[in-house]
Symmetry: C2
Subunit: 369 residues, 2 copies
């Protein structure tokens, strides 16, 4: 069943909205009080462009939380259990934000603009509230706000060709998660080598919301020779690549160790970091769950589900499948499982799909590809 | 243009989802990481049922943030600048949650279950994060979580008839914003005389998500003789009645004084209440904006907009229209304005609609009806 979305000022319009409509967007998902395009009507072509060519995405829903002021560095360290002393201006790091229980609140990219200015490029939760509460309670001298910044992603093996044609050598010299300020025909951008796929590419952080259509057109034009077309964070590719979707793959108990984020947690981070005590305790007492892949014994190609599947092992419920996808490259249905550590890669499990159908599968390590 | 919504486990399913689909829901709006029905295909009939008969709404998106434990009372007072000493178990109060700047974060109903247990029945923002941050930073002894509680609203002049037939005299004795625990054929409910309309009615807080369809059917059956049908928080009625939509009618600078919430702010609330200093300062220095109604000089019936209109007075921009609606009772286009206090009721203003059309209107006091 297809349902439509009612317009509301409570759900903010992307600067790229008109351009995506002109390019034939057919569906959206809500994210950070905005709407993100999820298809332009041809999922196969969208997947193919990302894997073999190049794709352009309206990911303005990746909102920035800007933290600015004399205590900005202090606050970002308090907010994340990853030691930040080696983070440099012009570099982004993937970080966990945890609450006092050590539960994951968001998994943003932290971009250091300078020693007194940072952006948290966030997943789908109100980090603005969290950061403001902590800053207010600790009486830190910072301003925290959502700036006029909206990323447009260029992803796929030919992304370098497009960005080279558009922005030149300067952009191509960026290393993974590196970024720099650039100007494209009067459009102010922060250009980063990043993006929510494993196919490589860039994100152009548009810093003037009035120029969304203009930027979209310029990218489209530069990408024409390389077969660019519109797309979106791809539900099959991201499961194949094992990328985390906060709020989908996580629940209100999930800690970073359960979802393969241990290398972003420094247990010797300062004692005033929120959640660090809880994370040390969790690590010491033993982590209860882990995220694995699952290869389904189920032939009919999955569509999208709005609920999780139940996973049973030898008659006992051991967790859930949080994401289901048809993998065009594996020619198989695959998924992401959040399950008890009593089961592991290689174990066969029974699965009850959201619509009640019973099937089975085998757990495996991530990523798939 | 109608766009569809992609299913995602990140966007949670309402317990009433299947029932609303069976009853012909056609559109939704995202709200608190869920979807709320916004129409069943006949807006006129939906309005008429609410104003003249009785309507039933899936408002499970009004999530509860439960605060429980020895410091629960202490925390809820810290979170709201309304003195709570006279709040009694079984009573709900409309409250403002403000940040340290005095900016409105949410406008929930605070329900006191007992002296150690409260629900915040929230508008569309992650209050869970805010409350947890404050509790964690102040080391309060509380648990904060989202319980399995999903309101179904029964609204309209015949709501008492329906609820009387369904739940008897006990429910009808409830006063405005009073609530009590009840059991309906094995379905655990918290029954409250409340709801997001000025037409009177109840909210049945379903406390077992597996029984959504069952409850929906029972309400539908009991309402049959009174002409009940499905509906939703009504965009025309709520503008006529001047009800606030947080995130739509407010922005990241809005304080409670600007949106007619002054009677829910006690400036002599305890000094450890978040935002109280800022609110005292704002009050002393003078509030800059206010919320008024606007009667449009524009005849073509408004549909729904996803953006605000610009308001100009004698050539100067003075604010925005945050909500636009056709009023069937006034037979006129009306709206809610958030404007500078340099203009007031009776002033004629120039308005630029979101689609660029220029028109005009007259400011007026709220509510319209």
């Amino acid at each position: 069943m297809a349902f439509s979305i009612s317009p509301s000022p409570r759900v903010r319009r992307s600067p790229f909205f008109e351009a995506t409509v002109a390019d034939g967007v057919v569906s959206f998902t809500p994210y950070n009080h905005m709407l993100m395009p999820t298809s332009y009507g041809d999922p196969q072509a969208e997947y193919d462009r990302l894997i073999n060519h190049v794709s352009m995405w309206d990911v303005s829903v990746e909102r920035q939380v800007e933290i600015k002021g004399p205590d900005a560095g202090k606050l970002v360290q308090i907010l994340t259990p990853r030691k930040l002393e080696k983070l440099q201006p012009g570099k982004g790091w993937y970080v966990a934000l945890c609450d006092h229980r050590g539960v994951l609140l968001n998994d943003p990219i932290l971009l250091m603009l300078d020693s007194n200015r940072y952006w948290l490029s966030i997943a789908d939760s109100d980090v603005l509230f969290w950061a403001r509460a902590v800053a207010g309670e600790r009486k830190l001298d910072v301003e925290i706000f959502e700036p006029d910044v909206s990323p447009l992603a260029i992803q796929g093996p030919k992304a370098d060709d497009v960005v080279g044609a558009l922005l030149g050598e300067e952009a191509l010299q960026l290393k993974h998660f590196g970024f720099r300020g650039m100007n494209l025909q009067g459009i102010p951008l922060m250009v980063a080598r990043s993006g929510w796929s494993k196919q490589g590419g860039f994100e152009l952080y548009l810093m003037d919301g009035s120029q969304g259509s203009h930027l979209w057109e310029l990218v489209k034009e530069a990408g024409q020779p390389f077969g660019i077309g519109p797309g979106n964070p791809n539900p099959s590719e991201r499961v194949e690549s094992g990328l985390l979707s906060w709020g989908g793959d996580t629940d209100d108990q999930t800690n970073p160790f359960e979802v393969r984020m241990e290398r972003y947690i420094d247990l010797d981070a300062p004692d005033d970091v929120i959640g660090i005590d809880a994370l040390r305790r969790i690590q010491q007492q033993g982590v209860k769950r882990h995220q694995l892949g699952v290869l389904f014994d189920y032939d009919e190609k999955f569509g999208l589900y709005d609920r999780t599947s139940t996973v049973n092992y030898k008659g006992d419920e051991v967790g859930a499948i949080t994401a289901h996808a048809w993998s065009p490259r594996l020619q198989q249905n695959i998924g992401l499982a959040l399950v008890s550590r009593t089961v592991g890669a290689g174990d066969s499990v029974d699965i009850i799909l959201p619509d009640g159908i019973k099937t089975s599968g085998k757990l495996c390590d991530l990523p798939f590809i």
